[in-house]
Subunit: 551 residues, 2 copies
């Protein structure tokens, strides 16, 4: 995009937005604020911002001592804990790039990411060593491993080498580090996005990107010093959805969840109540399980004022209403992607809508993705790239641009097709924007079903299918059709005890929310639905398998 | 300051922070939000963000039509109203620079600013035309005047020419403007600072400066869509102390005070109550007068949750307590300067201090300037430039650096002495920072009295003097002394009816808060105290006049 030079205001060197400054200023103003971290044995570790910052400086010196230099890439394979928080500042603060490694990826993808990014060192939780071991023979450039553990290194068996003990390195290092004044466009971290096709693609966030998003998130949620931020989102997912940065900026209390899965939600809910959490974030499945647990509690926790950011997919009204009724906590729908550094919308009511809409209408509104965060540009475009009106019905591909949206994939040809010349990221999502600015995502562009010139949303139909009590899982795909271009096909996995359900019953159920012409011509009852390694529906495989069903 | 290049994250053109985007995004999300503007006749004009934005675009086209180009400087001489708000976006959005003209300056200073900045056009309120007329013969480069008026141009007598009618220009212009994508380091506005010595000095704020401060202020106050922001601070003063930008970013309702002076505070207080204001800002004298008025009201207004930013000088506890007790509104002490774009501190309590301190201690704490806003670097240095500890007692000159602090004066030799090589602005203020990060300004560096190697704060002593019921005004200055280097001299204007007060009584009063060695050797009872054209104590004149009194 062409940049016009105005009257120059800044003849001298411009103040660089470095993420480490979020921490430095937090220390000046909020030095005594508390950080709580759940250990693997379930106990809680506590220390202050000041103590954390001292360890960040030790970490920076330690990395220097083992040979990490400005611009080097340092991988991280770790759960949510205070050491991971130290790494968020202590690694990029030195000018190195933190490469977030998703511990759920297959060795093939993980080794690709390590090699493509040129990662030299990996900082790793002791219980994840086997993951590193599974890729080490494929990653020749790796120079060393720093293990986060409470054990002595001699008590850990591993074929990784050389290995260092995180705590030993910190103990040996000096507690003061002179942070460089980094060019703000230097990479702070890399996250790789894994789609259903092709190799993982690297998104490199600059210090400026991360710094500005922290401010925006803190301003728009808002997050303040009297907030308690619970880090549930894995910190290897898109920088933990901004919370570790925004909380630091605001000087909020931080609580790290440790290693956890859905079975730990009782314990995590307890922590949430005891530590008086006011801000957290997760995907709907996590909040669902949490709500189930809360429903069984005799004394319901009072979470009035707590804001739970919910992203990944649409939170059902029952979930949002359930939290509200049982605890007073508000679920806030949000939308994002790796390329957009996760947070691009937040669903808040405007004062005038609260006056004008009925309670039911407000709950419906909460299902939308929310308004695009101030700071970002958005366009909704049709297949020819023409901009569509913000009328709440015109649906097209969503393009995003702004101070924290990436503008390229690192060293990857996909940059050409995924970004426009004027700096927009083509999200691949289809949606509409209403006159109040609320976004509604209707589908992935490539999953939209185009029947006779009209669009049918596969996501809406899947949501309708799983709302039937007998349906466990569902997928809807578009299949080539000689007359209508494409027609929908539904794949359905039935729940135990509901095996007798037939196509007609499903059609009748869908008929409540869909027009007759939109109903899938065929409904296949299957044992399982193909998914990718990260658990997404693998529609590419399905479309291939059933491609001839209507021809 | 040396900039270290890390691993490059952003190969393509970086998204530029343009202030007009604050408005564009507000329109997308908060189009129906209301703006209220008090007209000269006292009635209230109301319109929406959308209507305002249309007029901003018309203004941009209108300016183009009369010859304003990217980089041109456009002066503004106006009160606080919706047109001034339109100018805040419509002028710099085009790439022109808005030159804020203080309508209280002498013609000599005003013409200097117009000529030094190269201002080509001036947008001016009809009732301020005489000010422009007083300088027009001194400003040969001026090319035209745009008059904000409800009258027909033919009904206005003026020797200015050419003159345009603001409303006529807007009516003739088209309502859509293609804003340029400005280099973010282009100047958004210029404010000139007038000290007690020398020529006014020009501070040019870039779009980046203004954009980032808007975010920071919105995040740290915070300002949100359900806030109602009352613009009391003159908009020609340091961009109205950030409120017109932060409110726009947040989509808050805006209320403009129109032309006003201390006699209008009854009416302004009424507006504050009726429009349900939640955020405003002013100097202590304004809030004092407002509190006096509120005290006389039969039904005290409920302003619970309202935050009143108070800057310029230290707000007395009686003022803060008065507002709190009478209305529930909180006065928040803030500190700034033209060079630092006004807002550099905000005084908030941290949750742990609210638990640990007594009520009296908290009120005392509220007198401090507050914590330095996250985002800014601060140093307290002694006369040799050595950094002093943040121990609450070590006092030295305050240096500030950050994303909205200027790093130079435009085209002025004073840049050399007022800014450090590593980008700090030397504020000229002396102060200390405590371990919790609260700043206490003790004096202007040049007004500090250095007696026998110890510092005596002239400001503290002046505050103590005027707290005596018989003292109307006071000034304390340092006078050369053969033995102690400097000794304090107090000048006091007594109130009517208190003319019999003698030195001893004043000494006794000061003895409550000052040590004996700190008391002024002489106290001169005078009829008046010299002040500058903008009303500040003119200590330079006083020091000259009394320089030999102790020798």
């Amino acid at each position: 995009m062409k940049i016009v030079k105005g009257f120059p205001a800044d003849p001298e060197g411009i103040y660089q937005l470095n993420v480490i400054n979020l921490m430095k200023h937090a220390i000046r103003n909020f030095s005594r604020q508390e950080i709580v971290s759940r250990k693997i044995n379930g106990t809680l570790f506590r220390y202050t911002y000041t103590e954390s910052y001292e360890r960040m400086q030790r970490l920076a010196n330690a990395l220097k001592s083992i040979g990490v230099k400005v611009g080097d890439r340092v991988g991280v394979l770790a759960w949510n804990h205070h050491q991971h928080y130290e790494i968020y500042y202590g690694v990029p603060g030195t000018g190195a790039v933190m490469v977030s490694l998703n511990l759920r990826l297959a060795p093939q993808d993980l080794s690709y990411i390590i090699n493509h990014s040129g990662t030299k060192f990996i900082i790793i939780d002791e219980d994840l060593i086997n993951i590193a071991e599974s890729v080490v023979s494929l990653c020749k450039a790796l120079k060393g491993f720093v293990v986060i553990t409470e054990k002595d290194l001699n008590d850990i068996e591993t074929k990784l080498k050389p290995v260092y003990n995180y705590e030993d390195l910190l103990n040996k290092a000096t507690p003061i580090f002179e942070w460089p004044n980094l060019d703000e466009n230097s990479a702070y971290a890399a996250c790789y996005t894994t789609g259903t096709t092709g190799k993982p693609k690297g998104v490199y966030y600059s210090h400026r990107n991360v710094y500005i998003q922290a401010l925006m998130f803190a301003a728009q949620l808002p997050v303040r010093v009297n907030d308690v931020v619970f880090q549930l989102v894995p910190m290897f997912h898109v920088l933990g959805w901004s919370k570790p940065q925004a909380a630091t900026y605001a000087g909020a209390k931080l609580v790290f969840s440790g290693r956890w899965n859905l079975d730990d939600l009782k314990e995590l809910t307890d922590i949430m109540v005891k530590e008086k959490v006011t801000v957290s974030g997760a995907v709907p499945a996590v909040f669902m399980a949490m709500l189930e647990f809360i429903r069984k509690m005799e004394n319901k926790p009072d979470l009035t004022g707590t804001r739970l950011i919910c992203g990944g997919s649409e939170p059902p009204i029952a979930l949002m209403r359930g939290f509200w009724d049982e605890t007073g906590a508000e679920i806030i729908h949000s939308y994002g992607s790796t390329e957009a550094m996760a947070i691009t919308t937040l669903n808040f009511f405007k004062p005038w809508l609260e006056k004008e809409l009925s309670e039911e209408e407000l709950w419906e509104l909460k299902k939308k993705q929310g308004t695009i965060m101030s700071g970002l540009d958005i366009k909704i475009v049709d297949e020819e790239g023409n901009e569509l009106p913000h009328d709440g019905t015109s649906s097209g591909e969503l393009l995003l641009r702004g101070p924290w949206i990436t503008r390229s994939y690192y060293n990857a040809p996909e940059t050409q097709i995924s970004f426009t010349e004027d700096g927009y990221f083509k999200t691949g999502d289809a949606g509409s924007l209403d006159s109040e600015g609320y976004l509604k995502i209707t589908d992935r562009i490539k999953d939209v079903i185009k029947s006779g010139g009209e669009w049918i949303s596969s996501i809406d139909m899947e949501n309708a299918l799983v709302s039937h009590p007998g349906v466990l899982e569902a997928a809807v795909i578009g299949i080539p059709h000689p007359k209508w271009d494409e027609r929908p096909l539904a794949l359905v996995v039935l729940r135990e005890g509901f095996e007798s359900i037939k196509k007609d019953e499903i059609h009748e159920h869908l008929g409540n929310t869909f027009a007759k012409w939109q109903l899938p011509d065929e409904i296949l009852f299957v044992k399982s639905i193909p998914r990718t390694t990260v658990g997404k529906l693998n529609k590419k495989v399905m479309r291939m398998k059933y491609k001839d069903i209507y021809s």
